[in-house]
């Protein structure tokens, strides 16, 4: 096995393209190293992207924020501007594992792991985040919801990796929130996750919303019909009831060791209602 640690994006792309065997990109390593240890993956090379300065930064761009693929949850949590604009995304990232995991885990890694239960992904989807994918043919931008295709599978082509995540301009009277359900208060995988991002007009009417659900389908899903239940409303009880019902209807979960179909379906609605209220409050509603 080889350990590669390029210092520029160009080198990283070239190394990945030229690697003769299976090469795995190492960002925080909190998934990859666990998988390697369990024998679930035996890469020939590991490409550590943390020595690429550009990927370790959070930079302002077009009123939004570009978050490098090697930026850890802990670093995001300490970034005031990001926390002010996208508290739901930061909170979601901070729900990934323990304080120790926070020191390592990244949005890009959480996305590329392609788990339907990934905590940060619903929040990114609700936020309308876009992944910038680097590869031998240059870079391309893909909405986050289009990156995971199935559990453990992404749209990344051979030689490609996610270099950064872009969170768009928040704008005034906007708010987002992410909630997940876990049996323990910490150190757990989401049994259900839900993120809501919304914008209000000056009268407090919701003008735009995005709602996404985690762990209720093979991938994190964007639920436009749930967003529609909020748009044009003040998030009053009937709207929240409709939101909850729509989210439960949109859920098509499996039963596994972490939860039953019935539980996940019901709790998807419960979390949606609760997350919407938090997002609403954050938007000044």
């Amino acid at each position: 096995m080889r350990y590669l640690a390029p210092t520029t994006l160009e080198d990283a792309v070239q190394m990945l393209a030229e690697d003769p065997g299976e090469c795995r990109v190492l960002a925080g390593g909190t998934d990859l190293l666990v998988r390697m240890r369990a024998g679930m993956t035996e890469p020939d090379s590991i490409l550590d992207i943390k020595r690429i300065d550009a990927l370790r930064e959070i930079t302002a761009e077009d009123g939004g924020w570009r978050i490098g693929a090697a930026v850890s949850g802990a670093v995001m949590n300490e970034h005031e501007g990001l926390c002010a604009d996208w508290p739901g995304v930061v909170e979601a990232a901070n729900l990934i594992g323990s304080t120790q995991i926070q020191g390592r885990c990244t949005l890009a890694g959480n996305l590329c792991n392609a788990s339907p239960a990934a905590d940060s992904v619903p929040a990114m989807v609700a936020a309308g985040a876009v992944a910038r994918i680097a590869g031998p043919n240059g870079t391309r931008d893909v909405p986050v919801e289009d990156v995971p295709l199935a559990p453990g599978k992404t749209c990344l082509e051979q030689g490609e990796f996610v270099a950064s995540i872009f969170l768009p301009r928040r704008g005034p009277r906007g708010g987002d929130a992410y909630l997940r359900f876990t049996p323990r208060t910490e150190m757990d995988i989401a049994v259900v996750g839900c993120a809501v991002s919304l914008t209000l007009d000056a009268d407090g009417i919701c003008t735009a919303a995005r709602v996404s659900l985690g762990a209720v389908a093979p991938t994190v899903i964007l639920v436009p019909q749930a967003a529609a239940t909020l748009e044009g409303t003040r998030l009053d009880e009937p709207a929240l009831n409709a939101l909850a019902r729509t989210c439960s209807e949109a859920a098509s979960p499996i039963a596994d060791k972490r939860g039953t179909v019935e539980f996940r379906t019901h709790v998807a609605g419960v979390l949606a209602r609760r997350a919407a209220k938090i997002a609403h409050e954050r938007a000044g509603g």
Binding site: R37, K50, T99
Partner: protein, 159 residues
């Protein structure tokens, strides 16, 4: 598989070692450098017994490659006391009987120290959440939380 040469700093001391590309920092610390204070309880980042700091950040050393420590500063439990002087947290852990078997203690101390460096006056809830990644099976956490809060109070008075 050829080994990688790593130059790093551990508890302030310059250290060089050779490691396999897939060897974890925890294995390097324990098996090569004799720093067995960091423990392996799970190998998957779920128990916190291997907690160290990497450039000041709290990490599970079982989820860091030895190669990643190149040019970094690593802090382990072995570097917590200064000569004969225990860190206030170490002293309080003994005074409060905050350990029974003691296997989780090094990881919890490293994590608690990091908490108090960032937040000298944490609430009980903040302390509990910060330490949620450090499993203890003996104590029910009660005396651990009390020891951390008490150490924080003493350190605030001293500073």
């Amino acid at each position: 598989m050829s080994k990688i040469h790593v130059t790093t700093k551990i508890n302030g001391d310059p250290v060089e070692y050779l490691c396999e590309p897939d060897e974890t920092l925890l294995d390097v610390l324990r098996d090569q450098l004799g720093l067995t204070g960091s423990k392996e309880g799970c190998g998957t980042g779920d128990c916190g017994a291997c907690t160290v700091t990497l450039d000041g950040r709290l990490v599970c050393s079982c989820l860091v490659l030895g190669a990643e420590a190149e040019g970094a500063e690593v802090g382990t439990i072995e570097g917590m006391a200064e000569a004969e002087a225990l860190h206030p947290l170490q002293q309080k852990f003994i005074e409060h009987a905050a350990l029974q078997c003691g296997i989780c203690t090094p990881g919890i101390l490293v994590a608690a120290k990091s908490l108090l460096e960032r937040n000298p006056d944490p609430t009980e809830e903040e302390t509990r959440y910060w330490l949620a990644g450090n499993l203890c099976r003996c104590t029910g956490y009660d005396k651990i939380i009390r020891a951390v809060m008490d150490a924080a109070a003493d350190m605030r008075k001293a500073s």
